[in-house]
C-alpha cells in the first residue's frame, strides 16, 4: 500500500468512506495497469498539482447501489503509450487513434469493475455501462445532482492520469 493513500481518516463516517473509496480506486487502477498494461502507475502526491492539459477522457457509468461516473483523463500521448503497452506494438500514429481510445475506454471499464469488486456491497448491487471516450479539452461535464467527487492523481511513464469518481447517489 502506498503510504500516500492512507492519510489520517477523519472521524466523520462520510469522509472515512471517501478515504476508503479513494484507496480502493488507487488499488484498482494499480492492479489493472500492472496486469493489463504491464507497467505500474504511481500515486501523484498533490492532486491539485495534476496538470489540466489532459485531452482524452474515458468514462463509465455506474448504476444501482452506487450511481455515478468514473472517468480517467490523460493526454493523447499517454493514451497512445497505454495502447502500445497493452498491444505489445507501437500505436503512436494518428491513424491508430481508434485503438488508443479503445484501450483507454477498456482500462476505465476494468478500473470501474475492479473498484466495485473491492467495495463491500457494490460488487453485486452495481452495474457498469459500456465505456465512452471523449477527445479534446473544450468540454464541461455537467450533472443535475449535487455531486460528491473523489479524485486520485496517478503518474504513468511520468505523465499524469487523473481518476475521478462523480457520485450521484
Amino acid at each position: 500500500m502506498n503510504p500516500d493513500v492512507t492519510t489520517t481518516v477523519p472521524g466523520n463516517g462520510y469522509e472515512q468512506r471517501n478515504e476508503e473509496w479513494r484507496r480502493a480506486l488507487y488499488e484498482a487502477a494499480a492492479e489493472v495497469f500492472e496486469m493489463m498494461v504491464g507497467e505500474p502507475v504511481s500515486l501523484q502526491e498533490d492532486t491539485a498539482a495534476a496538470p489540466g492539459a489532459t485531452d482524452t477522457t474515458a468514462m463509465v457509468g455506474l448504476a444501482g447501489a452506487l450511481c455515478g461516473v468514473l472517468s480517467i483523463r490523460c493526454t493523447t500521448s499517454s493514451a497512445a503509450g497505454i495502447a502500445s503497452k497493452m498491444l505489445g506494438e507501437p500505436v503512436q500514429s494518428t491513424e491508430c487513434i481508434e485503438q488508443q481510445l479503445d484501450a483507454l475506454g477498456e482500462i476505465c471499464n476494468m478500473v470501474a469493475g475492479n473498484f466495485k469488486a473491492r467495495v463491500e456491497g457494490l460488487r453485486e448491487q452495481c452495474m457498469l455501462s459500456v465505456p465512452t471516450v471523449i477527445t479534446g479539452q473544450d468540454y464541461c461535464l455537467h450533472s443535475l445532482a449535487d455531486n460528491d467527487r473523489l479524485e486520485v492523481a496517478l503518474l504513468f511513464q511520468g505523465n499524469p492520469i487523473v481518476l475521478r469518481l462523480e457520485i450521484h447517489g
Binding site: 496486469m35 493489463m36 485503438q99 470501474a112 475492479n114
Partner: protein
C-alpha cells in the same frame, strides 16, 4: 498411456515380504532393479499425455467476442501464449455479430465479454443454443463484471467458465486449456 496400477501393486507386493523380514539389503536391491522399469513407464505415460495435450491444443478455431478491438487482440495473444495453436481466429464486436460469424464458421472455442452494446454476452450465450455450430463448443466468459449473479447466469446458460478482467496470460491458460483437454 497411464502407469498401470497393477504394475505398482506387483512391485509393492514383492517388496512387502522383504520389508516385513527387515531384509533391507534384499528390499533395496529389488527396488533398485524395479525402479528403472517404473520410471520408464512413467516417462512413457508423461510423453503420451504431453502428445495428447498438443493434439487437442492444435488447430483450434476460436471466436472472440468483445466490443473492444484491443481486448480481442489481447485475448488472442494470451491464447497463443498458452500454447494453443490457433488455425483460425474469428472476431466479433457484440453478440449479434458473434452469432452471424458462428452461423457460417464452425469453431472449437468461444470467448465472450458480457457487457457489450447491441447484444450482450448473456443474450449471446442464450442464442448460441440454437446454433448447430456451437453444439459442444466450450464457452468462456471474460468479464469486468464481478457480480456472482451474472456469472452464475452465464454458467447456467451454458458457459463452461469465466475469467475476470483484469487477467494474466496464465489465468487464461488455466481456464481455457482444461476445457480443450476435456473435449
Amino acid at each position: 498411456m497411464a502407469l498401470e496400477p497393477a504394475r505398482v501393486t506387483a512391485v509393492l507386493w514383492k517388496l512387502m515380504p522383504l520389508a516385513a523380514r527387515a531384509d533391507k539389503k534384499a528390499a533395496a536391491a529389488y527396488l533398485l532393479s524395479a525402479l528403472p522399469s517404473i520410471q520408464g513407464e512413467q516417462e512413457t505415460a508423461v510423453r503420451a499425455a504431453r502428445r495428447t495435450v498438443r493434439i487437442v491444443m492444435a488447430n483450434i478455431r476460436a471466436l472472440i467476442v468483445d466490443d473492444s478491438s484491443v481486448m480481442r487482440k489481447i485475448v488472442e495473444r494470451c491464447l497463443r501464449q498458452a500454447g494453443i495453436t490457433l488455425s483460425a481466429v474469428f472476431e466479433a464486436s457484440n453478440g449479434a455479430e458473434g452469432l452471424a460469424v458462428i452461423g457460417n464458421n464452425p469453431v472449437d472455442l468461444i470467448l465472450s465479454d458480457i457487457n457489450m452494446p447491441v447484444m450482450d454476452g448473456l443474450e449471446f450465450v442464450t442464442n448460441l443454443q440454437a446454433s448447430a455450430n456451437a453444439k459442444g463448443v466450450p464457452i468462456v466468459m471474460i468479464t469486468t463484471e464481478g457480480g456472482e449473479a451474472q456469472v452464475t447466469q452465464a454458467l447456467t446458460l451454458g458457459a463452461k467458465g469465466y475469467i475476470r478482467k483484469p487477467f494474466t496470460p496464465d489465468q487464461v491458460r488455466q481456464h481455457v486449456v482444461p476445457l480443450l483437454r476435456a473435449d
